[in-house]
Structures are given as structure tokens and as C-alpha cells.
Symmetry: C2
Amino acid sequence: MTHLNSLDTPALVIDVDAMERNLQRAARYAHEHGLRLRPHTKTHKIPALGRRQIELGAAGLSVAKTTEAEVMLASGTPDLLIAYPVLGEAKLARLVRLASQAPVTVALDDAGVAEAISAAATAAGVEIGILAEVDLGLHRMGVGPGPQLLALIEAVRALPGLRWRGVTFYPGHIKDHAVESQPALERLRGQVPEMVAALARAGAEPEIVSGGSTPLLWDSHTIPGVNEIRPGTYIFNDRNTLLGGACGRADCAATMLCTVVSVQGGRMMIDGGSKTFSSDRSSATEDALYGEIEGDTGARFHKMNEEHGYVDLSQAARTYRTGDRVRVLMNHVCTAVNLHERVWAVRGDEVLEAWTVAGRGKLQ
Amino acid sequence: MTHLNSLDTPALVIDVDAMERNLQRAARYAHEHGLRLRPHTKTHKIPALGRRQIELGAAGLSVAKTTEAEVMLASGTPDLLIAYPVLGEAKLARLVRLASQAPVTVALDDAGVAEAISAAATAAGVEIGILAEVDLGLHRMGVGPGPQLLALIEAVRALPGLRWRGVTFYPGHIKDHAVESQPALERLRGQVPEMVAALARAGAEPEIVSGGSTPLLWDSHTIPGVNEIRPGTYIFNDRNTLLGGACGRADCAATMLCTVVSVQGGRMMIDGGSKTFSSDRSSATEDALYGEIEGDTGARFHKMNEEHGYVDLSQAARTYRTGDRVRVLMNHVCTAVNLHERVWAVRGDEVLEAWTVAGRGKLQ
């Protein structure tokens, strides 16, 4: 048996039992409510975990980039959504190669982007699915849900090589600490069916209405019209998910194993900083901490440099010595995973295996 | 000729002429003031650039981790500082292997860490240089500059397999927006010579007194007693360096080439977010921007997700269309470089070559 303590630090460790429970719970929820589950694999970036999501009934997988899609083909997914517009020669070449290997759908909000994809698909003799991206409040991507959306859909439907499959939105503005979440959720419960009805009246009833994030996961069935969800973080969860109320502490499957490298005058330094955790602040609280030291909420991880995590011990529950190891619940697991070549699957103190993060660093 | 526009985005591009000027200026400064220059390679993580720093007169190179040191051996550096305590079996094994290939020095602040290194060095029949780390105001690593420092040095000197070489500090608290910089710099100008004098009186005169960061680079000669500097960022510079006043705009050698992937209602999205830039805020200003769109300071890059850079165009100097390309001056180049497998050396619009970031992601 390989013991956790034999791992060199910093090391990102995954509790496989908690992960499996998370996967099964979401699969059950989606099944019970008749929702297509299409997990976003940006959280784990590991084809074997994508395969497990498919085994448990996921209708397909989501990725952000064509390069991530190439990696995720190894999961054997029956349907692949690139939830990001695909622009430019190199990406279009990858896209049509992908489409010759698996059914691929792209989310976009611009008729010009659709035209370029249509031209590439037609030249390559493949078909690309399209979801029209609509903005329901996040103000990131997406056209407005009225005439703009209909115009985009009509443009897509008129183009050869494309198959219009429906609409997609990302409800990232809900359960974000900057917005009161309940009114926004209530608004969404009106916006989606209204949008779907208007499209149906115009002869453009969407087959897929794709929404759903991890913070909103368990509320997905309360939004009439949504029939597909794309949560990512739920596989591992993180401090944001916990503080946002979408999971319990036992559902946090990912922690960072760190070593205390210095203890001086009421503070300690751990060997993980922005190069190990990412410097993402919490999106669920204003506390400005970078994570939580497992078993010691009084030890405040309040600052970081690339290789240093600053932990204020003035309210700590215990004492620490140089060389001690701690496990840290990170704010945002997706950006942390992206920094690691591999993560470690563990059960209790036993290290089961290393998983290569094959989709790490796929920027293009 | 390969044109910049043929690069797939996002792409981190380095203006080689600006970089070379930055390297030469720092080399000249160090030479003029009799300072050993030991650049921290965490900024570039590229052995060929380390070699160029050595060619221009650097006395050695600095790294943060033993795994980075392994990569940087290829630079042919005559002296390698691991500016971070080395703890644990795996790292000690790497350390003594390194020491059999090149002179290696470790910075530490704990006699226990020194003892473990001594035992490993003795067993392997190698010698490890040691710098005692002192805290002169950052409150990160380091013992106090009084009796604690002397005790640490005496412990190191008594251990076999170690060669005590001097003291090191990191003045990261100076030119940080959270602290008024002038009083802290004035204090440092007293602290260092006082510390050196006290050590000399106790029979422990340090051969090396190592300080120096990029924000403080050009003030290094005004701190009596400092004889070595370890700037990292100066090779490329970034928005932090610019806003902190330690470089001019023409000295910013690194920019992120991004594509506009969406323009909707007074905002645009670029294809770089926290996975491309890192989510580091500026350390030199409170403006909460994530970077500066080259040539358009009115376009405010104010928010990011992993793959999305949110740019508010309400004050923009020009209009943008989906598919346009922009270059972005990033807040913090070190954490950005760490996210890229390779960066592109450019002169004007010409791409000269790709440089593999061999030291990227070396966490342990």
C-alpha cells in the first residue's frame, strides 16, 4: 500500500469514494427529473473520469476548446459539446477533424462564426451541431432572448453543414455572491419558458435547452423548459460549492496536500501558492481566504505568492511545525486541476493511483 | 516569414528586442554597482534564457524548487540557488543529485531543515551551500535579524556537508500597493547594514547578502550591504512593473495575443481568462483590472472566468468585431508563463521561434 505521506507535495488528492457519490447523486437527480446530463469536463480534464460520467448515464460531455475535445474523445463520449465559439483557421481544422470522429456541437452567439464553421464543415464533408447561445443575465456570451436569438437561429438553419440543435445559456450570475440569487433564479424561471414559447411560435422550437451549473445543479428541475444541464465542479466540489450551499463538507472530494515549510512568529508558510492553487478568490464569500486548512478553520490562509501560502495562526486550533503536512480545501478546483500534471486518487490514507490530467493546459 | 496573425490564440508572445534591452540594462546596472546578479528564473522557466542571463554576466541563477533546478541545469549556470527550503525525502534525493552536477545553494530559515539537508548531503558525499533567510518586513519566510539569525547561522556552520554562504531576504513588501514604499525602503537601508555589522561583530560576516526584486531593482545599490540581487520579472516586465514605476511601456516585452470571440451590448469577450493569464490582480494598483488592451486603455478588462476575458467597451477608443485580435499587457507575467507550454519569440509582426517553457508546472 502506498501511504498518502509518501507523496511529494504539493499534491492534489481526490477521495474516490466521495467523487463516486457525487457522480451517482447527480446522475440520479438528472434521471429522476428527465434532464440530459452533459458534464463539463473542464473540472477534471481526465478522459477516464469522462468515461465514468458516460457510464453513469451522461448524454455527452462538454469542453471549452477544440484541443480539450481532442483529449476527451478518449472517453468514448457519444456526443461532444464545445461550449465556446470556434474561430480561426487552426481551430476550424481541428473542429472538422473532430467531427469526423464523433458527433460534435458548438455553442456560438454570432452568425459570422456560424458561417465560417459552415464553410469548413461543407469543405470537409462533415456536419456540426450548433447551439445558439443566449444571455439570460450573466452578460458574458450570448444574444438577447428576443428577436436577436431568432435571427441567429434562422441564420444557422440556413447554412449548409450545420445542424441547429437548440439553445444554451450559462446561469453563472446565480449563486454568485455579487448578486442576490433568489430574484435572479425566479427571473430565470420565467425567462426560459417564455423564450422557448416564443421560439416555438416562430417555428423554431429548440430540441435542446441547455443550462445548469454546479451552484444551481439541484435547482435545475425548477426552471421550466430546461432539459439539459452542464455542471462541471460537482464531480469534486470545492470551497465555492460548499459555501454556496450546493454540497456538504463530506462531498468535497478534492484537497491539496501541502507541507509546512516555515513557522515564524504566529504564521506558517505552506508549499502551495498561486502556482499550485491558482489565485482565484472565493466566488461565494467575501472572506478573501484562499482555502481552508482541513480541521482548523481558525488557521487563516489569507495570502499567497507563487510558491508560498501564508497562513495566519493567531486563531489556529493547533500548533504547527516545519515539516507538518496539511490538507487544504481549495476555493476553485477547476483552475487548480489545470495547474497539475497529475492528481492522486486516494481512499483514506491509501494512494490508489495517479491520474494524468491529459486535458491540462489546452489553451487553444 | 511567419506572421503573428498565423499564431493560434491565446498565445504569449515575447518581443525579443525589448527582452534583450531589459537583460542588458540590468546586467549593466549590476556591473556598475558591483552587485552579483542572480536572476530568478521563475519568470521565464526557459533554460536558453537562463543561458543568456549567464552570458551577460549573471553570477548564477535562482529557482524555487528542486524540479525547476533540474530543468535549469541545462542553462549551464555556474551557481544555482534554490530560494526555498528543501524538505522531505523526494526533494532531498533530488537536491543531492543536483549537487553532484552543479554548485547548489539552498535558502532556509529553520535549523531542522538544515539538519536534514546536512544528513542527506553527508550520506551522498556532496556539499550544499546555505543562505540563512531573514525577514526584513515581508513576514513571509525568515527569522528575525537579531539573535535568531545568528543562532540559525551557527547551527548551519556546525553541520557537516553544508557551506554557509550568507544571508538572503526578499523585499516583497516594498513597492507593494498595500504599503507606503518609501518609509519601508528607508528602513531597509538601515536594517541591512546593521544586520551585517552585528553578524561581523559575532564572527559571522556573510559573504553573500542577497536581496533585490524587480520592483526594487534600480534601488538595489542604495541599500548598503546588499551585494547580490535576484530580480525575475525584469526580463519581460509586466503591468505590475510598469505601474510600480520600475520600467517604461517600451520595456514590456510580454503580451498575450487574444482573439475577440464575442461582441454583445457594449462588451467583448476575449479568448483568455484565468487559464491563460492567471487570475492575479495587480499588486501595484487597486484598479481591479486583469490587464491592459494594447492601444486602448479605455477598454476595461475587468473580469474573467477560466476561458473568458470580459472587456467593457463603454469607454473604448475603437470598435471591435468578433474575430479581431488584441494584445494584452498582463498584470503578472510569471504566473501567466507557468500556464503556457510554449511562448513565441517575435520581432514586430514576425514570429521568430517557439520557446518551450521547460520549467512550467514544476510544483515539487
